[in-house]
């Protein structure tokens, strides 16, 4: 079992490397930009797959968590603190090495929070908010849970698009690069395109490995049991409320990590990242990926986000994902890429050869 997963994840890594080698050999490195962005969106989608697909708890508010990560990080790393230099709290942060002086776009001197400190703050805030929201909201089921999470997403959207510190409708731009380790920088700089592709996909591979392990573990079985029959899971000793909350927080943190990284990569973030349409897009991809299918979500997530980012859907971008959701809910409410469906599909094509055998 463990070996099978190791092989699968190694194959994923091989494909990731092969794509990079291929694009560099064919002089089409520009594709890596959209693949990098798709990889960050995948982090949201994989977290949501565990929450929604495996545990059966829908969230139409995950763009809100993504935006929380991105916006908090963007605000802290761009908001100039020079005028507060004499404030004792700012002085304390400075002496702890959490602040950095840098030169802004227009040659002005800025005093900002360091990206690492901003990252940790963004994750911590998301963690706490997800915990506080998740407690009461996860008592709801079905449409009621969907509506409550939708409302949460709407609140975040309203906050970021109406608060001056978050740049209102313009969002925040000129977000500095995020130096993870010396020499390893999250940045949209074209010279760093290849290394950024590997940072993003390295995160996806790690996340995939962790989540595949999780779903195969005692906790993973308990989560699927909650989806399968919540009351019976309780009678087996599963603390259903606690497990649902933990998965909710876990997926929210994944979304926030994605938000932070993509914001540094794009050097900015706008309110559309917090929009309901983004949340619906994530849900649609989890659904078309087969709901309880991490690999399906990964394949569909890359495929659809890549097409969307390359602009293939034109002005129908959001409509495509809305349409996907409608079609899936009508014809394959348990998700499209499922073992049963795949077998049926293979059977469809395998039929003639079978008859030959007879």
């Amino acid at each position: 079992m463990q070996r099978k997963k190791a092989i699968q994840v190694s194959l994923l890594a091989a494909v990731v490397i092969a794509v990079q080698v291929f694009t560099s050999a064919t002089g089409s490195l520009f594709y890596l930009t959209q693949l990098t962005m798709s990889a960050y969106y995948l982090l949201v989608i994989l977290g949501l797959t565990v929450l929604m697909g495996y545990t059966g708890q829908i969230s139409i508010g995950h763009a809100g968590f993504f935006a929380m990560g991105g916006y908090i990080s963007a605000m802290l790393t761009t908001h100039d603190l020079t005028q507060y230099k004499d404030n004792s709290l700012i002085g304390l942060l400075d002496s702890l090495g959490l602040l950095v002086e840098r030169t802004g776009l227009y040659g002005d001197n800025l005093l900002n929070v360091t990206p690492w400190a901003a990252f940790i703050a963004a994750i911590a805030v998301t963690f706490i908010v997800a915990y506080l929201i998740g407690g009461p909201v996860l008592k709801l089921k079905g449409h009621y849970l969907a509506m409550a999470t939708l409302a949460f997403g709407t609140i975040i959207y309203t906050i970021v698009s109406a608060t001056p510190i978050f740049g209102e409708a313009d969002g925040i731009n000129a977000v500095p690069p995020f130096e993870l380790l010396p020499g390893l920088v999250v940045s949209g700089n074209i010279a760093l395109r290849t290394s950024n592709y590997y940072i993003a996909w390295g995160l996806v591979i790690a996340c995939m490995y962790l989540l595949l392990n999780l779903m195969d573990s005692r906790v993973g079985r308990a989560l699927r049991a909650i989806h399968g029959a919540e009351d019976a899971a309780g009678s087996m000793g599963v603390n259903t409320a606690q497990y649902k909350l933990r998965v909710f927080v876990l997926s929210a943190v994944f979304a926030a990590v994605a938000g932070v990284f993509l914001t540094h990569y794009n050097a900015g973030i706008g309110p559309s990242e917090a929009s309901v349409m983004k949340s619906i897009r994530y849900v649609a991809i989890v659904a078309i990926g087969g709901m309880a299918n991490l690999w399906g979500a990964l394949v569909m997530g890359v495929f659809l986000n890549f097409l969307s980012l390359r602009g293939y859907f034109g002005s129908f971008d959001d409509a495509v994902f809305g349409g996907i959701l409608i079609v899936i809910m009508l014809f394959a409410p348990d998700g499209l890429l499922r073992q049963g469906n795949l077998r049926a599909l293979i059977g469809l094509f395998a039929k003639p050869s079978k008859e030959e055998g007879v």
Binding site: Q2, L210, L211, N213, L214, D216, S217, R218, V219, G220, R221, A222, R224, A225, H227, G228, A229, D231, A232, A233, G234, S235, M236, G237, V238, N239, T240, R246, L250, A292
Partner: protein
Amino acid sequence: MSVLLEVKNLSRHFGGLRAVDQVSFSVQEGAIKAVIGPNGAGKTTLFHLISGYLPSTEGMVSFMGRDIHHKKPFEIAALGLGRTFQHVRLFHGMSALDNVMVGRHTRSSAGFLSGMLALPHARREDRAIRERAMEELEFMGIASLADTEATSLSFGQQRSLELARALALEPQLLLLDEPAAGLNMHETVEVGETIKKIRDRGVTVLIVEHDMSLVMNISDEVMVLSYGQKIAEDEPLAIQKNEEVVRVYLGEDDG
């Protein structure tokens, strides 16, 4: 023999309806005790009260000397009280084996982090869970169906699977809610044999059942409920001769 489960003056009212009304009884360790009664007598409500699925209006429940009244179902399960449901409640989308493996939840401890990192102790524990789950499937005679999706099994197999899952919990007390409902006569006899085998493993059994032949065959003691109240509690043979019980079941002889 000691008292494993003790219920005192347990009541549950739904508005004006007294679904369970001042019921007191106890279950001796190692016994098979049956609760019978006409439809709507409050048998399933009584089970829900004991296993924590419904809060009681008043009364007390103690299990192995501990007050389990007001505890949540998962806490009660962790103390060693297993149950099955009147309408089979399997985890759909999971194999038969995975279903039973969930039954080992309270007997294992790996958390989110050790699961995600597949730490050696978590993997060792998982292997032990798998082995034990297979043993329970074998005990119920459905080991060959381990990899089948639970909900695609036949109804009788689903009932067996639900039992295997409850047994994986290593319960001290097993609550069976109509284990023979929907089964034919032959299968019902088999269920009776299985319940005796479960008792012989040292598991105390409390069973709600409609099927009189099953109850009379296997029970050490029978309690009769009618309109939420206990009207009799005795050995099976005595219950069969109890006039009040006969009246409740067959109706009065006054036209």
